[in-house]
């Protein structure tokens, strides 16, 4: 392919990304440095507020826990799916991604019904006589994490099934023939070779949960605000556009930092991983 054709083919996407993503993001971030009180004053204000830093730490914590749980559940499920014979495998993958066919709001709403005061979980526990008073499970970090794991595990399964299927059978057999017990084969061969997929999955889930809005809004409420909900409040309730932009800038920086730490860790385990 000649150079001109390559440019021509990638041009629409490039223009779209630059015009609608790069420029607006840079413009947004630029506004945060224009305050009369000093270039970093809005950032100082953010980090001096215990309320706002609490939300930042909570968001980080929820996103990391969600990523970790999704990685474990997703990996185990994908590992089983990758071993299945053809037709069964397709059925399992369709079943795993089925929840993706509905929207985020609908799926988060389902957990309202399950976890609510008069929800399915409370009423079954009570009718079984395990508890006498309904538990308050909504509006906790736990409820947000459970719902997010439910949201993101399908993505993780999809990503990891592809990667695990790509590990050649004879490499695993070579490991066994050289005397590696199944657990050693897992940690020394399968896990490092699955690393590129684990990274892609972890990045997808981390960025998705770190920036989520609908789920913490529905299941976290006012008590469990996350960066997404805080940003919405700043922009649409208090109309503090610069404050909202500051939050957005902090989120971009943290996302990039976490993603690069993840890929560095992956490269240590597998030099082939990106």
């Amino acid at each position: 392919m000649n150079k001109l054709a390559k440019w021509g083919l990638t041009m629409p996407a490039t223009i779209l990304v630059v015009a609608l993503l790069v420029i607006p993001v840079l413009a947004t971030i630029a506004t945060t440095f224009g305050e009369p009180k000093g270039v970093f004053s809005t950032y100082q204000a953010f980090f001096n507020s215990g309320f706002r830093t609490n939300i930042l730490y909570r968001t980080l914590r929820i996103a990391l826990i969600t990523t970790a749980i999704s990685l474990v559940i997703g990996f185990l499920t994908a590992y089983v799916i990758a071993q299945m014979p053809g037709r069964l495998k397709s059925i399992a993958i369709i079943a795993a991604v089925f929840p993706l066919l509905t929207g985020v709001v609908v799926r988060s709403f389902a957990w309202l019904i399950i976890l609510g005061k008069n929800g399915i979980l409370n009423s079954s526990l009570m009718s079984l006589g395990i508890i006498s008073e309904p538990l308050s499970m909504l509006y906790t970090e736990g409820s947000v994490i459970v719902a997010m794991v439910y949201l993101f595990v399908p993505l993780m399964i999809l990503t990891l099934t592809g990667v695990l299927e790509g590990i050649p059978r004879d490499v695993v057999e070579a490991s066994a023939s050289l005397g590696a017990k199944p657990i050693a084969t897992f940690f020394q061969v399968i896990l490092p070779l699955a690393m590129p997929g684990l990274i892609v999955g972890a990045v997808l889930v981390f960025t998705g949960s770190f920036t989520s809005y609908a789920t913490p809004q529905l299941l976290g409420g006012e008590q469990m605000m996350m960066m997404g909900t805080l940003l919405y409040q700043r922009a649409m309730v208090t109309f503090d556009w610069v404050g909202a932009s500051t939050i957005a800038a902090i989120m971009v920086v943290i996302t990039i930092a976490v993603v690069s730490i993840m890929s560095r860790m992956a490269r240590r385990l597998n030099p082939m991983a990106v």
């Binding site: 057999e173 023939s177 050289l178 084969t185 597998n270």
Partner: protein, 352 residues
Amino acid sequence: MTVSLTIENLSAHYGQTQVLKDLSISVAAGELVSLLGSSGCGKTTTLRIVAGFLQPTSGHVRLGDRDLTRLPAHARDIGLVFQNYALFPHLSVQDNVAFGLKQRGIAAADRAKRATAMLERVGLSNLADRLPSALSGGQKQRVALARALVIEPPLLMFDEPLSNLDAKLRVDMRVEIRQLQKANGTTSLYVTHDQEEAFSISDRVAIMNAGRIMQLDTPEVLYQKPANAFVARFVGFENLIPMKVVARDGAVVTAEAAGGARLHLSQDLFGPIKDDFVLATRPDGLVVRKDGEGVPATLGTRTYLGRAYQYKCGTAAGEITANGALSEPFEPGDKAVLVPMPEQCCILDPET
């Protein structure tokens, strides 16, 4: 420590299909035996059962006095060289070779020393830090060989190890494999579909078909004295002509082919000849002549082979392939006689 490998009455199934039928082979200590056959003959299945990747329906695998049949693959202590090399793509050449030593709990310093020594033996010490993706096919196969040898296994197995290499390299590598195997005196089982490779590398070769061993013998015997029609065809005896003995005079037997062509054969050369037998020849063992004692034929297509012309010949006993001298070319449609060279023929039992 050299031990023998004994495979006893092995049967295996994939679903309802039986792929191995009561197969028995024994490989003596230090011997290299090849399993040779076309795809689907059961040779790879046999290797996978010995390696522990497949469970047989019945039968036993013994290495020395150890019964391996129910042992998991990682406990068998067998060095395996794969067709696609199966190197660990995330480990350096050095770490690939040291992998088996690590699993045996050998200390890092000793591990490195032994891996380095083995890489030197296969001539790759300068590539120790490379990743497999930066190696050529031949280098990858050497790493795979080093990785299998460094654990000093009592049994080495090769699964079509050269089929992904180009022709020149294949010849060099098989010489190298044979030298290393002989130097270490390791009992070896070698799977291939390439006859020349099997014959050149092996002490004995088992020719397999449909889950059975058709003949297990030295390459010389297989090539000159195939035991049955399958092996005969496999080693190039293209022409199988059914014959009937019509007269016996001492050691000399007169036999008749379909269409009435008569031949005189000596039992001093072929051993006792039964009343019904099959005369097997390679195209070289039948010479196309104007006249002589042989099978009358009408010549068809002529192919130039360099050392001779090859003709497809129509005879009363079916189509026969024979070679004729360059000095005496025939044209398609010519009548001629196909004269067998007795020392290049063999006699088969029609039952086989």
